[in-house]
Symmetry: C2
Subunit: 435 residues, 2 copies
């Protein structure tokens, strides 16, 4: 690839135009095995760039074993682990199958997925329901409590939400995020107000379903108990939005960031479906009582697509109330948003920060800007325990490794191996692993 | 009355202690005629200090006539007006009967009221349900649409919420406000997140009531359609809190502010139930399309107790997203909160502003500070049309007249008529009507 600065800027404008005009609806609920072609037989999807069992971190391995028990493929976790070691399971990356999942992001065929549609461009995305806080499969917890809750989600929650959606019609998640961001959310690690908005919208329709009164009350309570319920909806919206930018010629905009606890990966709109990877790092953050940084798993999750889509840590200026949860002084959250304007090419027309007089969130990470300034995109993230079966132990801030951007710069032909300039940044020399 | 500075400061500390330790629950729903002794026969409660028909503004008169039709006392609005002119109705001030009401604040016997209890001090307060936006009795609208909605509130909403509360048990409104304020509300003219929290909490219990599925769905939709639904809950909480401070010896803290479109009134903890009044003024604010300042009614409403309780405009730093609604630049909302620390004696221990690193909201308006600094307490308010039957036309900011504070200063013996000093402010001379 070899593009002029004009071609690159035009490509980036196209990508921004796609993002700004995308409206994503939640349309339906189906079982993942029906919705996603890959999920036939003993196959599982996971978060981050593609990874096989031998390289999976322990939290992801735990989630894999939990999913195998949940599916009835194995009698217990030991048998599941044995099957995994023997190569019985096929693994795929969520992002390569129009899916995303928080943390370990394991999707197995019997899990219900919410189906999102980008109403402007037609493409769909698939996301499981958020299980709840603390001990959850996505953080590597996999005991009976976790498995039973997954079964309840499959048997009770999913059919009721599916019927409610069929009655209500598609729900506009993009505008719900916009309102949530005006109410103190950033829609990645702070989803309190957006969760509220979803409950308010769906509740009257849930009441009209065939579920029993007790089931309906429990569905409403389940959503109420989990202020991260909306995270998976926000991720579905970001995924359906950003996937519409895959392969836009010459664009240097990052349209996917994710990690699997082993590798961190980014994708760039103009480079199609290629992964640019580096090592997964550790988050710096706030730990729940009794835990510290030494307990942390390396970062993982597909939710980092949030920041690529202009929300999450990029919108933290809207969410000072969420600062402490991720180890940041509340009054300083605005600075995180402000810094990101330096590496982005636009401001979001729907997602706006009230405290900045409704300035749009920083949107469209240009790998040229990251490379040129050395400023990495900030991401906020949950932190899983590095040992199997424990779950979430904190939340914090993390940055992708610079090597991902360096590889993308090279792949896009924006420099030569002997240190020549990149388009649009004539005087910048590529330094591999620059900080 | 003649108190030393030490006595005053001790009294004020007592008042602050009462406010900080008050926890207010929503406990029950009853018809106002059963809950409030005053409401026998053709009697009505109204907002603000006591006022009779001859001095009522047109918006309040319209609400009175609407209530008379709603009650079946009159066949139509003309007959209602005729009855009012002939003195058929008895009027009382909400605040003198443990009640509060937004805007015109009319409470008639058949209207259901939510019953709040200050669990620390035992006293109760009574507030009607919020009717919705735009055309509503509280703004002086009184056509069939308004009356029919009041009937639906009486016949459908109230019994379902009452049964839900009986099943759920009392709901802690104080802590709900605290969470709302961390999610972009100030709980006076911005109640979006608090309304969400209430819906999330009550929804599973509403589902379990004897209401039909369709009624329950409509109850949930009714609350969802009105982001000010929580205003009346917040007012009930503030009233039950502030009433516990009535008559605390020597205290110079304002525990009630309100207006009726004719007079503005304040009460001071150490002066018992005495009113200190001045003329109602006009708000400066933002008008809905098609209206301007020339259409505005003078301010009215009991919701100004919010600011006395440390929320509303005093908490605007938490609610930049609500700035435009009241005609303030969002980025400047924080300044309004900061200025109020200058006339208050404490910071709220439950209501906190995330953008100030969770500093408590300014709490406890000391009339000595207002008098000394000339800084009046800021209040945000809805604006009604001055003509009958139209409803809300905007929202804005208003200040009580200084004369209220001057009268209170004199009544409390903090100065003499020949200009002597007030306790704690040795060098300050009272100037009547100082701006």
């Amino acid at each position: 690839m070899n593009f002029t600065e004009e071609e690159i800027n035009a490509g980036n404008q196209d990508v921004i135009q796609i993002i700004q005009t995308s409206k994503v609806n939640l349309c339906d609920v189906e079982y993942a095995g029906e919705a996603i072609d890959f999920l036939k037989g003993f196959s599982l999807l996971h978060s981050g760039p593609p990874v096989q069992w031998r390289n999976m971190c322990s939290a992801m391995r735990s989630a894999v074993c939990g999913a195998a028990v949940y599916e009835g493929w194995a009698e217990n976790l030991e048998e599941a682990q044995d099957m995994a070691e023997r190569g019985c399971f096929s693994f795929g990356s969520n992002n390569e199958h129009s899916a995303v999942g928080p943390m370990a992001g394991i999707v197995s065929p019997s899990m219900p997925v919410m189906i999102f549609q980008n109403t402007t461009f037609g493409n769909k995305s698939f996301v499981t329901f958020n299980e709840g806080l603390g001990k959850a499969l996505r953080f590597g917890a996999n005991d009976d409590f976790v498995i039973n809750r997954l079964k309840w989600i499959e048997k009770v929650l999913a059919p009721i939400i599916k019927e409610a959606l069929n009655r209500s019609g598609p729900i506009d998640i993009t505008s719900m995020m916009a309102r949530g961001i005006q109410r103190g959310d950033e829609c990645h690690n702070r989803n309190k107000s957006s969760t509220s908005l979803f409950i308010r919208k769906i509740a009257p329709w849930v009441v009209r379903t065939a579920g029993s009164r007790e089931e309906i009350a429990e569905v409403l309570s389940f959503m109420d108990r989990n202020d991260h319920f909306f995270l998976n909806l926000s991720m579905g919206s970001s995924k359906a939005t950003m996937d519409a930018t895959i392969g836009i010629r010459a664009s240097t905009i990052v349209n996917c960031m994710c990690a699997n606890g082993y590798q961190f990966g980014i994708r760039v709109a103009g480079a199609g479906k290629e992964w640019f990877t580096g090592s997964s790092g550790y988050a710096k953050g706030h730990y729940f009582n009794g835990y510290n940084a030494g307990d942390a798993n390396k970062v993982m999750g597909d939710s980092y697509i949030s920041e690529a889509a202009g929300i999450g840590a990029f919108a933290m200026g809207s969410a000072p109330g969420g600062g402490r949860f991720i180890g940041i002084k509340p009054a300083e959250t605005l600075q995180y948003s402000l810094k990101m304007y330096g590496i982005t090419v636009a401001e979001h027309e729907a997602f706006k920060i009230p405290a900045l007089d409704f300035r749009g969130t920083p949107l469209g990470i240009d790998i040229r800007n990251v490379f040129q300034t050395g400023v990495l995109p900030v991401i906020n993230t949950g932190i899983a325990h590095k040992k199997s079966g424990i779950g979430q132990i904190g939340a914090g801030v993390v940055y992708p490794p610079m090597v991902c951007f360096n590889k993308a710069i090279r792949e896009m032909g924006l420099n030569t191996s002997d240190g020549n300039s990149i388009a649009g940044n004539k005087n910048i020399i590529l330094k591999e692993n620059a900080k």
